[in-house]
Amino acid sequence: MRKKVLLVDDAIDHAQILKAVLEHSKLFEVVHTRSGLEAYQMLKSKEKFAMLVTGINLPGMTGYELLTRLNAEKINLPTLVLSQKQGQEDVMRGLSLGASYFVSKPFSPTDIMDKILKTLSAGAKP
């Protein structure tokens, strides 16, 4: 059975390619949204996701805000943060909010798939 991944990124081109690669592996079903707020609502609904892949600068709600809210509501979900920044501060912030990986752009979709697989096989959170 395919695992459901929620991909939140406002860079549509990159998200589309990532989605195509992930779905091509036949291991994942990817639901893509551009807005952080929409992602939050989806995660709060009954829909079950195995993993969250989120960008930082999102319309409506930033990736960090999304993670903070999820933590506050005790919604535990393995998370991979996808960012254009690669400062140590950003990485630390992402990881402290419970992200399993922090990937800065440029990225390789196949690498990201490996990371998702690793995270999912290791359990909820490393």
Partner: protein
């Protein structure tokens, strides 16, 4: 409404003309002006409406084609990941070239690994690289710059000679961008070839040029820069650039080279940069190096030597006394500042 007003005006104008005598009066003249203006406004509003409609239609078309090509590129990528070959590439309509080119550039910029390799192949396959190379010879500098920026995204070592040529471009922005691209693309870039190009730049571009030298050092290690500074006969500007870069890097292995350069007949500005770079490396055992520079002709150099002495520990009394009688107010002020901080320290 506008049409009706224009038409009414026009009819009344004809009426006035019919009834008027041979000599037109002021009212008929004003009427003519208002009719002409109304007609112009009417025509302009039609043009604006047509342009807006065309723009909306074009935007919708571009969005739909963007989505279409993105899907096509994604499926071509998946086939490439499976077979390692360029299979089933999207067919390109002539007017859609720009759309696909932008998609590919954005993906090349954001991706790494095999996926990026595929997008670069696709960019080359559709002849965008050749088109960009042709545009690099354009008479308009903006076109040259845009083409260069696109080629820069590819980071292809095969473009090295093109970048070298553009590094001597008549427009400074193009030249600097080419230098930046050069510093990015490969490990094999020869600093000996690069440094003379840098000397042609104006002082305004010094910081950009230093950034380029630093990029080069990041790629090839500091030794490449040290070798050039020690072995090549460089002009003052280029030498200053190298010294400034070493000052920013603050790497202890650059000390012997900096001391060797100090023995050369440098300009006052470069002597100052050199002393500042050495001070940035920390304590210097050989205090006489700074003491000698306290006797330099340039007050900026003398002040920097004094700072160097301070950074290396306590300033020898003889040097302090000598500096106290310096003809430059700046140097004397510096001595008093240093002495007062030392006094506070001892208290």
């Amino acid at each position: 409404m506008k049409l009706q007003t224009g038409w009414t005006l026009f009819l009344s104008y004809l009426d006035v003309l019919r009834r008027s005598t041979a000599e037109p009066d002021l009212s008929s003249f004003l009427l003519t002006i208002s009719v002409v203006l109304t007609a112009l406004i009417f025509l302009m509003s039609i043009v604006v409406v047509i342009l807006l409609a065309w723009r909306i239609k074009n935007k919708k078309y571009q969005e739909s084609r963007h989505q279409y090509y993105l899907r096509e590129v994604a499926s071509a990528l998946l086939r490439f990941l499976d077979t390692d070959k360029l299979l089933g590439l999207p067919k390109l309509r002539r007017k859609d070239k720009k759309i696909l080119r932008n998609i590919l550039l954005s993906l090349i910029h954001a991706m790494l690994g095999k996926e990026r390799e595929f997008f670069v192949l696709l960019y080359r396959h559709y002849g965008f690289v050749d088109a960009d190379i042709r545009q690099c010879t354009s008479l308009t500098w903006g076109k040259r710059l845009r083409a260069l920026k696109r080629l820069d995204e590819l980071e292809e070592p095969s473009l090295e000679s093109l970048f070298y040529n553009l590094a001597s471009d008549s427009h400074p922005l193009v030249a600097l961008s080419a230098l930046e691209s050069l510093s990015k693309i490969s490990q094999q870039i020869n600093p000996k070839r690069l440094m003379p190009i840098l000397k042609n730049r104006t002082k305004d571009h010094k910081f950009a040029a230093i950034e380029i030298v630093l990029n080069l050092v990041r790629c090839q290690g500091i030794e490449s820069l040290l070798n050039v500074l020690e072995e090549e006969v460089l002009d003052e500007y280029t030498l200053g650039l190298g010294i400034e870069a070493l000052g920013v890097l603050r790497r202890i292995e650059s000390l012997p080279t900096l001391l060797k350069l100090a023995e050369m007949n440098l300009s006052a500005e470069n002597k100052f940069r050199l002393l500042r770079a050495i001070r940035g490396l920390g304590k210097l055992d050989n205090l006489s190096f700074y003491s000698n520079h306290l006797r330099d002709q340039n007050p900026k150099v003398r002040a920097e030597a004094l700072k160097g002495l301070k950074a290396s520990g306590n300033i020898p009394e003889t040097d302090l006394v000598y500096a106290l009688s310096d003809e430059s107010v700046e140097v004397r002020r510096l001595v008093s500042t240093i002495s007062s901080t030392e006094d506070r320290g001892t208290m």
